[in-house]
Amino acid sequence: MSAGGGARTGREGPERFPARIIYTAAADLPAVVEQLPSAPGRLFLGLVVEEQEPPTPWHLQYWWAEPDSSWLVVDVAAQDPSIPSISAVEFAADWPEREAEDLFGIAFAGHPQLGDFVLHDEDFGESAVPMRQVAGGHGTTAAAGDAYRPPRIVEAPGGFLMPVGPVFSGIQESVRFLLETVGEEIMHAQVRLFYKYRGVEKLMEGHAPDRALLLAERVNGTQATAHALAFATAVERMAGAPAPMRAQMLRTLLAEWERIRSHVGTLAGIVESTGLSVPANHLIAAEERLLQQSAEHWGHRYLFGLVAPGGLTGDPGPAALGAMAAEAERVVSDVLRVCDRLTFDNSFLDRLEMVGVVPPARAATLGLVGPVRRASGAEMDFRRSHPYAGYDQVPPAVAVEVEGDGYARFRVFRRELEASLHLIQQLVHKIPAGPVTAPCSPGAGWAAATVEAPSGALTYWVRLDDHGRIRRCHIMPPSLANWHGLPDAVRDYAFQDFPIILATYGLSVADADR
């Protein structure tokens, strides 16, 4: 393909990692992105920034997932950190660019809103660029900057801004919503994330993959298997040594088990937001049952310490696998029974139907992922389009709904429970005998891996140095993409719909904040 002046393309990486790479100069970047042939189903995953030695210290990789099982990477090397913004042609790059500006000090020319994103102004001065490596990562100490003044958009008689958070009622993760209104309807919403920013990617630097794995699992503790799987798969691709077949299939089983638990939790959240406490408590008890079973068969309630580069750390044996499949069936059929009763409950349906509508075209522009995207009519599932672990042997059924409202999202979560249960029942009979670990000693280089976490496409990009230690790791979490799309879904709906729309998105703050 020809795209932009001076662009050249090439293939890189092992066989199971087909990526088309377009090298371009910074000045030509927007033209190159604009000229990419439009492929329905292409998804912008994220932006990887690396700082290397002069003369061209800045290396940027813009990552897209292609619908044909490959990846598309636009690679930019630049002398100084002034890169044109592509958010006008690829709207999903809006937040990744803001993140790179905050952490590396890259001025994306033409971006409408830079500054105060990851590093809040009240905690860090604008000069702080903590992720820089060659320049010493100066400004990493917290130095209070200006007091935070929420930006106002709505100018109308009687218009006011209602701040919610970062600490609000109940047992909620910390995040702030700025809701602008003149009365009943939300006219404009902003999400202020990164109150919980822990700097996981910076903490990983300089550690061996085995140690960094602990951090990957704890980015989002409720989806630890997905994070560990993405990280381990990236490291294994770099080593050119995939995990043994038994480990791959067991990982698939663990990932589906985690999806069931996560979706039951999300459904409980949806039901709780509509105020129906009996079915909500029913689902919370079902989730607890799955947590107990996780600890009984795998040692840890949130499946920490199982997936590791090279395979798995343990093997529960056939009896435990059979017990897990039986328990999954018992819990899922129980949850489905509650869900089916809910679909006949008017007070439940009234709160979900035609509320928080995201039309398919809008979902594509926003680059939404996971169940939220599938509820807006897209058959986007990385287990099918970019198979990893054992998914090429047990392709899952993809649940798609077209309405894009809260009820469509509820139905996607519900149908995915059935699909995951079906996968587990198939897997139990297909897991081959054999070892669960293989030696994995990666050399210098980079690799990436995308997995379908319970909340959507999760990508880990890892660069190792000559000693096999992590030089840079970049996480592209599904929740960040979906948080970016939330303000669109709540606009023009009433205040009391807000918590319900939020619950149907099934978002995690820790996942996005990292």
């Binding site: 590093l119 809040h120 009240e122 905690d123 860090f124 903590p130 990493t140 917290a142 970062p166 600490v167 009622s169 109940g170 047992i171 909620q172 993760e173 910390s174 109150y195 919980k196 920013y197 822990r198 700097g199 996981v200 903490l203 140690r211 602990l214 951090l215 704890r218 980015v219 989002n220 503790g221 409720t222 989806q223 630890a224 939790g265 009996v278 079915p279 408590n281 029913h282 919370i284 008890a285 607890e288 947590l291 107990q292 079973q293 996780s294 600890a295 009984e296 040692g299 309630r301 949130y302 920490f304 310490g305 750390t313 343990g314 009763r341 409950d345 703050v509 820790a510 996942d511 904040d513």
Partner: protein, 237 residues
């Protein structure tokens, strides 16, 4: 109304007060001090956070550092695990007797990964049913007797945690839940991390683990009012 009958018909799921350890899996367990076999040496590489150290022929456990990586649970590591949940340590006297039957808890997420918060959420569910102990979750710090903090306290949440504590009436207690809230845990070295709730507010009861199971958090809350859970689990080598 149909949901009311649905709730009446469903079985009681709440764990027994006397034997809360009945179903397996309520606790992931934790490593405990183990005597080394004669002539054996401890491989310090097993524990990535240096919670386990060799000390005169035995493996000593500093549980406050443990992040539940589960690596010492492998049989070849030779470390005994206790399946208990009385993990809380109390630094100050409990609240006065007047609080014995009703305390209100304000929960603050100071940067946790979601696992600790999920365990706290389970506490309010039907299986652990926090309310039967007279412990209630309140949305406002003005009505709270206990501040329950999870997470390593990030730069963004430091002010919120401090202000919530200052807004609470006295007498008040702080419960730090999870290894992150104790000392920052795996995130302690982060540039955006304060490293434990004790750096911002005085901690009265601390419960380690990654994450501590609901029963361990319940035990910590019970200690605030001068009680504690009756039973605990067995030790398996």
């Amino acid at each position: 109304m149909p949901w009311f009958w649905e709730g009446m018909k469903s079985p009681i799921r709440t764990l027994s007060r006397r034997r809360p350890d009945q179903p397996p899996g309520v606790t992931p367990g934790r490593p405990v001090a183990t005597a080394l076999p004669p002539g054996a040496t401890w491989n310090p590489g097993i524990c990535p956070v240096e919670a386990l150290q060799e000390d005169s022929g035995a493996i000593a456990v500093e549980f406050d550092r443990c992040v539940h990586c589960m690596r010492c649970q492998q049989p070849e590591a030779g470390v005994a695990w206790a399946y208990d949940y009385q993990w809380a340590r109390q630094h100050t006297p409990p609240l006065p007797r007047a609080f014995q039957h009703s305390i209100h808890v304000r929960i603050i997420d100071a940067g946790d990964c979601g696992a600790c918060l999920s365990e706290v959420r389970q506490l309010t569910g039907p299986v652990y049913s926090l309310h039967r102990f007279g412990i209630y979750v309140t949305p406002t710090p003005r009505e709270a007797d206990v501040l329950l903090a999870v997470g390593p306290v990030t730069a963004g949440m430091k002010a919120a945690l401090r202000e919530a504590y200052q807004a609470m009436p006295t007498p008040k207690r702080v419960v730090a839940v999870g290894v992150c809230a104790l000392n920052g845990g795996i995130f302690a070295d982060g540039f955006a991390v304060e490293g434990g709730a004790a750096r911002v507010v005085p901690v009265d009861v601390a419960v380690g683990g990654c994450p501590p199971p609901p029963l361990a958090i319940l035990d910590a809350l019970q200690r605030v009012i001068g009680r504690g859970l009756a039973r605990s689990g067995e030790v398996r080598a």
